[in-house]
Every structure is written in structure tokens, then in C-alpha cells.
């Protein structure tokens, strides 16, 4: 069990680090594009690559944002109900969220399939095959779905989910 736990946690961290790298890539792409223009050079496709990095950064960070409590929710009801009721409410929330995340993952998976079937290529100057840039998004969506499933199972087994609000994000303020 602890091996699975360690693997899962490593997976979330890895995805978050990759997402952060994507943010640096966005910055680098925009800076290079700017420098290229100033010096009369061209960097074809830079805006397209920045867009792909944006999507990848968002999706790869979804799971880590969930586990660190960054995704927001309306918790008025959760805060007023008793312990037992809260447990059922949390189960309901995690069930809906888990279903939604797997649903999204499945259809992004299908989108990758279509992209390969129709040989879909980016319309920008980058001419990247679309399945390549869909893949990080698919991976991120699946990792979010795994993280939600992980939380749901933990909740059902132990009575507590694993979301811990990152203190440096909020309380330090």
C-alpha cells in the first residue's frame, strides 16, 4: 500500500513540476519571439507553441492544485453540517468530480484518436500534429481523474480526504 501511495504522490509532484516547466517555456517563447522581432528575425509558430504550453501547464497542474486545496469550491454547507452529514456530502462531491474528470479524460482521449485518424495538423506556422499537443492535456486530465479517485477511495476507507490547503498560499498572508 505504501508503495502505491509513494508512486501516486510522486506522480502528482512530477506533473506539477512539468506544469511549472511549461510556464517557464511560455515565458521563454514570448521573450524569444520579442528578441527575434527586435533583431529582424522570425520565430515561426511561437504563439502556437505558447498556447500549447499554456494548455499543458494548466492540465498538468490540476491534480497538484487539487491536493493543495487551490481549486475553489463553495463550502458554506460543508461547514455548517455535522460530522456525519459532511462525510456524505464529501462523498457526493468527490463522486461527481471523479465522474466529471474521467468523462473529460475519455473525450480528450477520443479527441486524440480523431486527431490521429484525420491526420489533424495545427493551422499555425508550427504545423504540429495535433495529437502531440493534445497528449499532455490528456495526461493531465487523467492524473486529475486519478487524484480525485484516490481522494474518493481514501475518504471511503478512512473517512478523510487528502486535501491539505497549502499554508504558504493563503494563511501566511
Amino acid at each position: 500500500m505504501t508503495v502505491v501511495r509513494r508512486l501516486l504522490d510522486a506522480l502528482y509532484t512530477l506533473a506539477a513540476v512539468l506544469a511549472a516547466l511549461c510556464l517557464i517555456i511560455i515565458l521563454a517563447l514570448i521573450v524569444i519571439q520579442m528578441l527575434a522581432r527586435w533583431t529582424g528575425e522570425v520565430f515561426p509558430g511561437a504563439p502556437d507553441y505558447a498556447g500549447y504550453a499554456m494548455a499543458a501547464a494548466s492540465f498538468l497542474a490540476f491534480a497538484s492544485a487539487l491536493n493543495k486545496g487551490s481549486h475553489i469550491r463553495v463550502s458554506i454547507l460543508l461547514n455548517v453540517v455535522g460530522e456525519r452529514m459532511r462525510f456524505f456530502l464529501e462523498v457526493w462531491c468527490f463522486s461527481i468530480a471523479t465522474a466529471a474528470a474521467w468523462y473529460v479524460s475519455w473525450y480528450i482521449w477520443r479527441m486524440v484518436g480523431f486527431a490521429i485518424k484525420f491526420n489533424d495538423v495545427s493551422q499555425g506556422q508550427d504545423a504540429t500534429p495535433m495529437w502531440m499537443v493534445y497528449t499532455p492535456v490528456l495526461v493531465g486530465a487523467i492524473i486529475l481523474a486519478i487524484a480525485l479517485t484516490d481522494n474518493l477511495i481514501t475518504l471511503l476507507v478512512t473517512g478523510k480526504h487528502r486535501i491539505v490547503r497549502d499554508v504558504t498560499d493563503a494563511h501566511a498572508e
Binding site: 519571439q33 522581432r37 522570425v42 480523431f114 484525420f118 491526420n119 495538423v121 495545427s122 493551422q123 499555425g124
Partner: protein, 301 residues
């Protein structure tokens, strides 16, 4: 049957108005058996997503500027080869020459072509007077695809990539100083606030194509197919007339806005023709036998 029809341009654009009339015609012609709702302004799907949406059956029908998809197949760019067909008449002939090949390529992608309507011809916008290619040297030119980048390269301009959303701002702040586009784009974006000259070089006339998903099409009764095809023919003819009328209207509008509008000088035209031949040759290389067949059929006419 209800068909949702995404269109990329705003409701008042002549393509959208034409599409709305087509939808009405289909409703009447099929006695309400097929009821098309148009969704202009990219309110359902953005322009870039519309072709894929029709292919995969997310919507039965839609309109798309196919030259945006040249990366997929160079044939889609037949209408955007600079200086190959430089009038409504020539462009109509080119469209006719390309149609069989285009329909074949689309059929492979689960798409059936209903009708095509050209945009007004593409001209050059500058913030100064330009009489020769030499005058273009070093001007910052808005490029948005490989062909426009290549055009900048061949004319000695500096291609800068500016996304559509930032066009006005880019011209106002001088990030870009020139672009190639129809008089309509300049008129819609009111570019006379930042740019001064428009040269009618009629470089090419890109087409918007209304396409239907082939599986959906196969399920339409023969009577309704005939009705829709008839409406499509009317729409193609009306759209062409609207495009011609709009060309004059927008050129007048640019003048009224204070721009110098006119044909390019002889020297510029002949220099651009030369560049056009280079780019046609390059396109033919990319488009292979299909491209050669289209250009041969066009030139034979």
C-alpha cells in the same frame, strides 16, 4: 431535423448574412423537414475548430475558410497562392478548376462541399507610400501563416507575428506597419486610424466554404438533397454578388476614412507578379500532382 450551423464571422458580415438566407431557403425548400440555425460570431465553435467539428459530427454543417488548413493538405491553399488568380472572374475559374480535386480531398475527410463564396481580393496596407518592392525593405509586416511569411521574405519586409485579436493595437503602437488583407478587413477594423495607404493588388481571393458532414448528407432524402443543392447554388451566386458589392463599399469606406486607395503602380505590379510566380512554383511543389492538375486546368481555361 434541426441543424446547428456554426459560422466564424459576425452576424452582419456578408458571409453570415448569406448563410442566414441559405438557412431560410433550406427551411422553406425542405418544408421544414430540415431546419438550420446559424450561430455567427464563432459563438458555437471558433473558426479554427469548425472543420473538425463537422468532420467528427459535432455539428452537421458549418462554414470555414479552408485555406487555413493548408498544413493538412496543400490543396486547401489553392485559393491563396499570391497573384495566381487576381480578379473575381479569374478566381471563379480557379475555383471551378479546383472543385473536383477539392471535393475529392474533402470526401476523404467525411465532408461534402455545398457552396463556396470568395472574400474580396487581398490588397497591401502600408503606413507610407510604396511604389516598388525596394520601398518595402525593412517594413514590419504582419504575417499569419507560411505564405504571408514567405511573401515578407521575398519582398524584404520583416515578418512579425500578430494574432488577430491584437491587430488594431499592434498597428496603433507600431509593432506592425503593414499587412496583406482584403479591403473588408481594413474597413471592419478601421485601420485608417493607424495606416495610410491601401494598394489594390488583388493578390488572391480566399474562399469560405459551407460543408456538411458526409454521413449526415447520406441520410438526407433525395428530395431534400435537391432542395438544399438548389439553395446552395443560389447562395453561391448571391454570395459572389455580395462580395463584389462589398469590395467597392469597403474601398469607398477606406477612402472616406482618409486612406489613399488605388491600384498599385506598374513597377510594383510587375515585381509582385514575379514574386507570385516564385510562390506558385513553391506551392506546386508542396501540392504535388493535385496542385499541378488544378493549375493546368485553370490555365487551360
Amino acid at each position: 431535423e434541426d441543424w446547428d450551423m456554426p459560422m466564424a464571422y459576425s452576424a452582419t458580415n456578408f458571409h453570415s448574412e448569406n448563410g442566414a438566407k441559405f438557412a431560410e431557403c433550406v427551411g422553406a425548400g425542405t418544408n421544414g423537414e430540415i431546419n438550420i440555425t446559424v450561430h455567427p460570431s464563432g459563438s458555437l465553435f471558433k473558426g479554427a475548430d469548425i472543420k473538425r467539428a463537422i468532420q467528427t459530427g459535432q455539428v452537421p454543417i458549418g462554414e470555414r475558410l479552408l485555406s487555413g488548413h493548408q498544413n493538412e493538405n496543400a490543396v486547401f491553399g489553392f485559393d491563396s497562392v499570391p497573384f495566381l488568380a487576381t480578379s473575381f472572374e479569374d478566381s471563379g475559374k480557379l475555383m471551378a478548376a479546383a472543385k473536383p480535386k477539392l471535393e475529392e480531398v474533402l470526401a476523404d475527410q467525411n465532408l461534402t462541399l455545398l457552396y463556396s463564396v470568395p472574400w474580396p481580393p487581398q490588397g497591401l496596407y502600408f503606413n507610407k507610400e510604396v511604389n516598388s518592392v525596394a520601398d518595402m525593405e525593412g517594413i514590419k509586416f504582419r504575417s499569419y501563416n507560411n505564405a504571408t511569411s514567405r511573401l515578407a521574405e521575398l519582398t524584404g519586409m520583416l515578418p512579425v507575428t500578430i494574432e488577430a485579436a491584437e491587430i488594431s493595437q499592434a498597428f496603433a503602437t507600431g509593432v506592425a506597419e503593414s499587412m496583406i488583407s482584403s479591403g473588408a478587413t481594413g474597413y471592419d477594423r478601421k485601420v485608417w486610424e493607424s495606416l495610410s495607404h491601401f494598394y489594390e493588388v488583388d493578390a488572391w481571393l480566399p474562399y469560405n466554404h459551407v460543408m456538411v458532414n458526409s454521413e449526415v448528407w447520406a441520410g438526407v432524402s433525395d428530395a431534400n438533397k435537391a432542395a438544399i443543392t438548389a439553395c446552395a447554388e443560389t447562395a453561391a451566386a448571391d454570395g459572389l454578388e455580395a462580395s463584389k458589392a462589398y469590395t467597392q463599399f469597403t474601398l469607398d469606406g477606406l477612402k472616406e476614412g482618409g486612406m489613399t486607395v488605388g491600384r498599385a503602380g506598374d513597377q510594383l505590379v510587375s515585381e509582385l507578379q514575379e514574386i507570385g510566380e516564385t510562390m506558385t512554383a513553391e506551392w506546386l511543389e508542396a501540392a504535388g500532382d493535385d496542385g499541378t492538375a488544378i493549375v493546368d486546368a485553370y490555365k487551360a481555361n
